[in-house]
Amino acid sequence: MRFTLNGVATNVDAHPMSRLLDVVREECQLTGTKEGCGEGECGACTVLVDGDPVCSCLVPLAQVEGAEVVTIEGLGDDHPLQHAFMNEVGAQCGICTPGMIMAALSLEPDASIDDIKVALSGNLCRCTGYSAIYRAIMKARQP
């Protein structure tokens, strides 16, 4: 199955019904994407497929044929959201963080706090109570 992973043309030999999550973590050894539930409820496995955030635990590999997939590793190590999550303590245990950041990427630059809440409503965090995550997202936009 061919697709683009973090900008690199990739060809994976796996069952078409394999979960994209397993393909990314095991076949491609990109373990930044996390599994919290395997049932589409927690968002820890969020990646971008053609620019849209999706739960990779629910996506069969066949569905990304020819698509652009971006995982947390695709942002490099120097993305403003990553720094803001660090500085604002948007990450405590950190298991939700890659998924949160991937979900936050799709926000418009002028998104209000309510827009942020809606965009992240599929991403569970058990540590922060979310406020620090909002602070991080707001901070990341400041020049």
Binding site: G38, E41, V89
Partner: protein
């Protein structure tokens, strides 16, 4: 710049934000097998036969006969087996272990188990299996009740709560040259070590390493010892590394939860509002084995009279056995249950006396010089009035309460406290140690205290940096590995900052003396490295009697007052929190942003406990073991927080800090239910799900 008091970058921040941090499920080893646990499908009975169906090449099978040492998870009592031998005491109890190189193959294996079924017991009120009982007596409660102007009685109930750390349990065990290494998502690597020593025999060479841990909240305090034991047995039998990863459903069904409680109050009050007698009865459902229930009960009972002064108090507590999976540690450790009961009860007393609920609390809340139920004299570190007054002032509580009357909005509050560190003589028995090493670059902290999100590495490094007067960046923190770090005790009980941080501060001061004014790097270049190891010295004034439960239950307490504003849907009676003001005093924040995060996160968990998190038990097991129908707060369920951190430094803590981690979860549930009470709904149970509100409203 001083590190303490500033929100320096988290040591683990960037690794977590880039996805580079390594959690246990990220570990892959050559030849690694995938383990699976076969569990009982009945809550009570005896095993007649176990049969693995078919012949699966490469399948490793382990049962209790494969245990070289003792078949018990060594904790407080030695009653829980790693693997059932004959008697099944709860649903989902581990019986057999399987491992195979191919995860799909092992998942497809069928195991047939025949049982002789026995009648299960699920109702804690009918249980005669006492795991622990406690009696706290102060003054003469019966005489004082007889003399009181009024007696107010009530029964309050709380349900299970599931931790829902977003990373489910996972452990990898790997045979090493002369023993076994275990890598896992664990809160207490030295607890795992102790359990494995009993499993394998004392002479076994065992190394336990904590990997990055995706949340714990108490849920990874004792249960990982069980999983580590299982992975170890499979690894030893196969001679290969074995990973056991629970999926969400297994994690929810099989692992521990917060103890359900039934708490009865009988309180004597005078016409002017003075509380003169408190008679409290606490019942906790411990589940099938003792695990940590005795100490959960202990903390629960000590907090059961709330943050109030009363000369005549009797608290009787029991933790009992039922045929359900054992309940265990969960942030707050018994106190959220008993503080829920007492705070809702206080609100009912105010109602009965037609008194303002704030005034009733002002009249009775502890002040320096007062004594608690155990007879502990409050010092100047008692801040009950400070937090109450600030919360009431800041939220304009009284005015809002009037203003909301008759609308679909309401406001409620709760006053609470939380003892920091192990109860009573616990810290003395623990005898924790901490070590720091002088390195080429600076200093390395080597303790078993784990980073589970709360900021252990960061705050410990801040404390050591400032005590040594070196830059924060020059302090590194070793990964907890039981063969390499000092046993600083378990990462529980809000003790990691206050107790372990204090030992580290003393280590750093000793090192500073030895450096004689040189920088660590210069000293190292000239004389080489050295280490400083120190033990915890509890304050010498602490007196505690384990038998009578008298005197100084905790070295100090943190204090909080939460004010919750809610809205109720008039048709569905669904309650939505709109705003929470959390005023909390915990000595002094070492790292304000981390401390704020503890309060916000703990408050959100407390709101979930109050309103959403309903564990439905069927035939002794969790029937809604999925995130689809066990609901924790999402962004849309979590209101705006106004967090206020008041300071009242505690001389026994590093830089004045007390413990904070658990305090925030004690307040939200009673504050929410007290707000609901102002709608005229007499609710005495959580979670406050709409069905229950409908039932109360129609009564």
């Amino acid at each position: 710049m001083a590190a303490v008091g500033n929100s320096v970058p988290r040591k683990d921040g960037i690794g977590k934000a880039t996805g580079h941090a390594v959690y246990a499920d990220d570990i892959v080893m050559p030849g690694m097998l995938h383990g699976r646990t076969i569990r009982s499908t009945i809550p009570h009975g005896r095993i007649r036969s176990v049969n693995v169906v078919g012949d699966v090449p490469g399948l490793i099978v382990v049962d209790h006969h494969d245990i070289p040492g003792r078949n018990v998870v060594d904790l407080i009592e030695q009653d829980q087996p790693f693997l059932v031998e004959r008697d099944v005491r709860h649903l989902a109890e581990p019986i057999l272990l399987l491992a195979h190189e191919d995860r799909e193959v092992v998942d497809a294996v069928r195991v047939e188990i025949e049982y002789e079924e026995l009648e299960p017991l699920f109702d804690p009120e009918r249980s005669e299996g006492i795991l622990k009982s406690i009696d706290i007596v102060k003054g003469d409660v019966e005489a004082a009740l007889a003399d009181a102007d009024f007696i107010v009685e009530g029964t309050y109930r709380t349900g299970h709560q599931e931790h829902v750390y977003i990373e489910p349990n996972v452990v990898v065990a790997m045979p090493e040259e002369d023993g076994i290494a275990v890598f896992g998502s664990v809160q207490c690597p030295f607890y795992v070590l102790k359990a494995l020593k009993s499993l394998l025999g004392a002479s076994a060479h065992i190394r336990v390493v904590q990997t990055e841990t995706g949340g714990g909240f108490g849920g990874k305090e004792e249960y990982p010892s069980m999983i580590a034991g299982h992975a170890t047995l499979l690894a030893l039998k196969s001679g290969r590394p074995v990973k056991i990863l629970y999926d969400r459903g297994e994690d929810m069904i099989a692992t521990t939860k917060r103890h359900p409680s039934i708490v009865r109050h009988r309180t004597g009050v005078m016409r002017d509002g003075r509380i003169v007698a408190m008679d409290v009865d606490v019942l906790l459902d411990g589940g099938a084995y003792s695990t940590l229930s005795p100490v959960v009960l202990s903390r629960g009972c000590i907090h059961a009279a709330g943050a109030y002064r009363c000369d005549n108090t009797r608290i009787r507590g029991r933790a009992v056995a039922t045929n359900t999976p054992p309940n265990g540690a969960f942030r707050g450790f018994g106190a959220p249950q008993t503080e829920f009961a007492v705070e809702v009860h206080i609100e009912r007393i105010a109602e009965e006396l037609a008194m303002d609920p704030v005034s009733l609390r002002e009249l009775n809340a502890l002040r320096p010089g007062d004594t608690t139920a155990t007879g502990q004299v409050m010092g100047t570190d008692c801040s009950a009035h400070m937090v109450l007054e600030e919360a009431v002032r800041r939220t304009e509580f009284r005015a809002k309460r009037e203003q909301y009357r008759g609308t679909n909005r309401s406001i409620g509050l709760a006053l609470f406290f939380h003892g920091a560190g192990f109860t009573g003589s616990g810290e003395r028995h623990l005898n924790s140690k901490a070590r720091i090493d002088l390195t080429e670059r600076g200093v390395r902290i080597a303790v078993g205290s784990t980073e589970i999100g709360q900021g252990t590495r960061t705050m410990h490094a801040q404390i050591v940096a400032d005590a040594l007067a070196i830059p924060y960046e020059d302090v590194e923190v070793a990964q907890p590995d039981t063969t390499l770090v000092a046993d600083s005790g378990p990462t529980v009980a809000s003790r990691t900052c206050m107790v372990v941080g204090k030992i580290l501060e003393q280590c750093a001061m000793e090192m500073k003396d030895r450096l004689g004014g040189m920088s660590p790097a210069d000293y190292h270049a000239k004389h080489g490295g050295f280490s400083v190891l120190r033990k915890y010295e509890p304050p010498d004034w602490i007196e505690w009697d384990d038998h009578t439960y008298r005197r100084d239950a905790y070295a100090t307490y943190a204090w909080g007052c939460d004010v919750v504003e809610i809205e109720m849907d008039p048709d569905t009676l669904e309650v939505r929190p709109v705003k929470v003001t959390a005023v909390q005093e915990f000595g002094r924040p070492i790292h304000p942003a981390l401390a704020r995060g503890q309060i916000e996160g703990g408050t959100a968990q407390g709101l979930g406990y109050a309103l959403l998190e309903h564990v439905v038990m069927r035939n002794g097991g969790m029937a809604n073991a999925q995130l689809t129908n066990y609901i924790i707060p999402t962004t849309l369920d979590t209101p705006e927080f106004d967090i206020v951190m008041l300071e009242n430094p505690y001389a026994g803590g590093p830089f004045g800090a007390k413990g904070l981690g658990e305090l925030p979860i004690d307040g939200p549930a009673p504050a929410v239910v007290n707000a609901i009470r102002h709608f005229g709904v007499d609710l005495r149970e959580i979670p406050a799900i709409p069905e229950r509100l409908v039932a109360c409203a129609s009564r």
